[in-house]
């Protein structure tokens, strides 16, 4: 039908040109006549091509907002994306599912103009588009909320948002717009606050508001819930569903299957840079999604039925630590017992004192005001990290490069640095390299660390492999107390399972294990008792069997649990929570 109107156009043009050509030809010299003839032919010819092209366009026209066709991208040594196809229409929440290193981030960066594809086409609103830069992407109507927020701590909310907008705008006007928009979508935000005073949830709101202000057609969200409490997640989902109803397309990146089940319509699954499938979420189970994501069925973790609790190995009493860093968190009245044979989990939103707690417990920070720490019934309050290690304490910090391992040093040296005393790797004041090398090789073998050899620098390992190495290094020293922060952050699902099993096994051998994590599913899975840290205050600990995600979420928000609590009427608790969060901010 389109062809008809096009050919009608064509014949009209033809008649017009012919008339002009004939008319002008009457009083022209031969050369001019010839030039006109050429012009005429040219116009006819190109007109024909244009018509053909527009016809082709119309054939491909569809209701998709964004279409990726055969997108490939490689980095030196890695094919990050291998001819990926993806289609999203307006009003759809589309999940991009995959493990770490599956190529999700690379793909999304190409849509947002940070990277350029090596081959393939990006079609936006039915036009083949080469997205040159993030600014260009924003102009087209693509907005993105990053996993690691792109925020500037020392600037205010409105300044931050203004930086993410393409067009210069009056800050006062913008502040007004922010307040309006944030009220409309239930994302309260004060435009004049400095970012460093805000909680992580509030920071994410900045990102979302910033995106919404641009009235985007497509919103990309990169693992937005990894930093939120379950209650905050719920609120976010309500907002996202509302936005989708208003016609916004959302590309939702995650590896959390439950979230995808409850939020998304369709899911595209990536594995090792290749597209596995695009499926409708409703027809799939979390199990089948996981199988597609990992290429194998995941065996459910078996929680031991009964554990035998031994003596108290780590005892912390009334610990008060004032933050060194003005933006850090002070710890207040920390009480904690960890017994032989149990895994104790500490939940909490990032930046609520987890790092501070770990560095005080492992002896890195000896600068505290009050309280005692006992290791194996010995007072260890004033002992430095090495002395604590000799008593049997091992720790794995959250930051792997630069805290858990020296980036430029090779694995052997890194193994030596924490293990030399317990494994007696020093012989007559000199490093016994033979012994150290054997020790390192054992770690690599036993924990299947992927590395060419033990001479590779720590920074050359991927995040997951380095974590396996660091945990292996600590476990091989057979500690009686092990403290781990974010044991599986950024580790792919298979390796994460191995790490969790190793921690459980260690506990069953009589080690006291303390796990600090933001991953609630993980804590629920491996810990025997669970508590949370909020604003530097540690909650009481409850047996995991009596807890669920919602209850832990309340602990994370600083609400003390009354276990008879009716969780359905949480109107008042919400108020409590906001009050408490306000306090945290003041305290910080």
């Amino acid at each position: 039908m389109n062809l008809n109107s096009n050919s009608a156009d064509c014949s009209l043009v033809f008649v017009f040109l012919l008339a002009r050509f004939v008319g002008s030809g009457l009083n022209l010299s031969f050369s001019q006549f010839f030039i006109h003839l050429l012009d005429f032919l040219k116009i006819i010819f190109f007109n024909e091509i244009a018509i053909l092209a527009s016809f082709e366009n119309k054939m491909q026209e569809s209701s998709y907002l964004l279409e990726l066709k055969n997108i490939s991208k490689s980095f030196p040594g890695v094919l990050a994306n291998d001819s990926i196809d993806l289609k999203i229409s307006s009003g759809e929440i589309h999940a991009l599912l995959g493990e770490n290193g599956a190529g999700k981030s690379t793909l999304v960066k190409m849509i947002y103009g940070i990277l350029k594809p090596d081959s393939g086409e990006i079609w936006f609103e039915n036009k083949a588009t080469s997205i040159k830069s993030p600014a260009h992407a924003r102009e087209l109507g693509v907005a993105m909320v990053f996993q690691h927020f792109s925020l500037f701590d020392s600037l205010t909310v409105v300044e931050n948002i203004s930086l993410g907008m393409n067009h210069q705008s009056n800050l006062k006007q913008l502040a007004k717009q922010i307040t309006e928009l944030s009220n409309r979508y239930g994302l309260p935000l004060d435009p004049d606050r400095h970012v460093y005073t805000l909680s992580v949830g509030e920071r994410q709101r900045i990102e979302i508001i910033r995106c919404l202000l641009q009235e985007p057609k497509l919103l990309i969200m990169d693992e937005p819930t990894s930093v939120l409490t379950p209650q905050e997640v719920e609120k976010l989902f309500v907002t996202l569903k509302r936005l989708a109803n208003e016609g916004l397309a959302i590309l939702y990146i995650s590896h959390k299957l439950d979230e995808i089940k409850s939020l998304c319509h369709d899911a595209t699954i990536l594995r090792l840079g290749k597209k596995v499938a695009t499926v409708s979420v409703d027809t799939e189970s979390t199990g089948s999604l996981a199988a597609m994501m990992m290429g194998e069925e995941l065996q459910a973790f078996k929680h031991p039925d009964a554990i035998e609790l031994g003596k108290i190995r780590l005892k912390v009493k009334n610990l008060n630590v004032k933050a060194n860093d003005p933006l850090g968190i002070s710890l207040k009245g920390i009480n904690l017992n960890v017994r032989a044979g149990e895994v104790v989990g500490i939940a909490g939103v990032a930046g609520n004192g987890q790092d501070e707690l770990l560095t005080v417990l492992n002896g890195e920070n000896l600068n505290y005001q009050a309280g005692t720490i006992q290791i194996e019934a010995q007072t260890a309050t004033k002992l430095n990290p090495n002395q604590r290690r000799l008593l049997g304490m091992a720790s794995v910090p959250e930051k792997r490069l630069g805290h858990g391992a020296m980036p430029e040093m090779d694995l052997t040296d890194n193994a030596f640095l924490t293990a030399y005393e317990r494994m007696s790797l020093i012989k007559r004041f000199l490093i016994s390299y033979k012994k150290t090398r054997n020790f390192t090789q054992n770690i690599i073998k036993e924990y299947s660390v992927k590395t060419p050899n033990e001479d590779a620098p720590a920074e050359s390992l991927s995040g997951g492999n380095l974590q396996k190495f660091i945990i292996g290094r600590e476990l091989s020293q057979e500690p009686t107390i092990l403290m781990v922060s974010q044991p599986t952050w950024g580790v792919d699902t298979g390796a994460a399972q191995t790490i969790r099993e190793a921690l459980r096994e260690l506990a069953s051998k009589g080690t006291a294990v303390l796990v600090i994590s933001q991953d609630l599913d993980e804590l629920m899975e491996i810990s025997d008792r669970i508590g949370a840290i909020c604003g530097g205050v540690l909650s009481r600990f409850y047996p995991t069997s009596e807890m669920n995600i919602e209850k832990v979420g309340l602990l994370m928000a600083g609400v003390e649990l009354d276990l008879n609590l009716n969780l359905n009427s949480d109107q008042d608790q919400d108020q409590d929570k906001t009050k408490l969060q306000g306090n945290n901010i003041n305290a910080a």
Binding site: F75, T106, K109, G113, I114, L115, S133, P134, A135, F146, H148, F149, S150, L151, F152, D153, S154, L155, E159, S162, L163, G164, Q168, H194, Y196, D325, P326, L327
Partner: protein, 306 residues
């Protein structure tokens, strides 16, 4: 009064070179670049300014040339740290040593030549006012320029979008990059501006403060300018205050000696440096202010990740 007016006048002249160099360095540091080569860029400005005024007789040309000289040296620094990702601290130190050496080479034939100094500009009517007139409205163009730059830099950093972007790059280069701002371009421009300002600061020394060329005539002023930026916790108003405070202390020894106060001149020469340390210690007690104003990515190399 007879002592006060010349004292205030000398404070202004002592403060002006510091003000230029510190304002420039402030902008550079706000973008996240720590350029320790201020001393080197200042002295290059000083020698080039003097050479140009000697051969052309034009003080305007001399000032422009000194800006260019400072900026050129800053370009070398910027290339090393932004393109080759060299560490900023040693590169800055090398820049200072390089500048001192090169300026000595260039200025070899200039030693012992005198110059009248750039002319003072009297602002009509206002300069007739008693006391104030002589202090504020009978100065050379560089003094006026330095005070104008205080306002311009403050306005630029706090009121313009470009200033906001510059501060953002200094706060988190990764976030700025993710938003599509060119960290390289912004840092390059900020470094060049810092170099040009240090160059003018140096030119003020050889064209006005003591209009002649002496090897190493900056005498550590570049370092004081660096300290000033920290002392001012990266705030423009405080840089102004600090520059005049340090200027005042520097000049104190001359007038104290003239008055016959029996303190050894060596002790007096130590004063500005001592004051720097004391003030730094006092100021750094308020960690929150520093954390809020200090560019968080100061001195960190930026390599965009994939």
């Amino acid at each position: 009064m007879d002592i006060l007016i010349p004292a205030i006048l000398t404070i202004i002249t002592a403060a002006t070179p510091l003000l230029f160099a510190a304002l420039g360095e402030l902008v550079t540091e706000k973008s996240g670049v720590l350029n320790l080569g201020v001393e080197g860029m200042m002295i290059m400005g000083a020698v080039i300014g003097f050479v140009v005024v000697h051969y052309t007789g034009s003080s305007v040309l001399a000032i422009l040339a000194s800006m260019l000289a400072g900026a050129l040296l800053a370009t070398v620094f910027a290339m090393l740290i932004l393109v080759f990702h060299a560490s900023q601290v040693p590169t800055g130190l090398a820049l200072t040593i390089f500048g001192l050496g090169l300026s000595a080479l260039i200025g070899q034939s200039m030693i012992g030549i005198a110059y009248d100094g750039i002319p003072k500009i009297s602002i009509p009517v206002l300069s007739e006012l008693p006391i104030i007139g002589e202090i504020f409205f009978h100065q050379d163009i560089l003094v006026y320029l330095s005070l104008l730059m205080v306002i311009v830099v403050w306005w630029f950093l706090n009121k313009t979008r470009s200033g906001l972007i510059l501060r953002a790059v200094g706060d988190s280069h990764d976030a700025a990059h993710a938003m599509g701002y060119s960290v390289f371009k912004i840092r390059l421009l900020a470094t060049l501006f810092g170099g040009a300002m240090a160059g003018v600061g140096g030119a003020y020394l050889s064209l006005s403060y003591s209009p002649l060329w002496v090897e190493g005539m900056t005498a550590g002023r570049g370092w004081i300018a660096l300290a000033l930026v920290v002392f001012a916790s990266w705030r423009v108003g405080r840089v102004l205050l600090g520059a005049y405070l340090f200027g005042g202390i520097t000049i104190l020894q001359l007038h104290a000696q003239a008055l016959g106060i029996g303190i050894p001149s060596q002790v007096m020469s130590m004063l500005p440096y001592l004051a720097t340390i004391v003030v730094l210690v006092l100021i750094s007690r308020d960690k929150k202010q520093i954390k809020l104003n200090a560019p968080a990515s100061l001195g960190k190399a930026f390599q965009p990740s994939r």
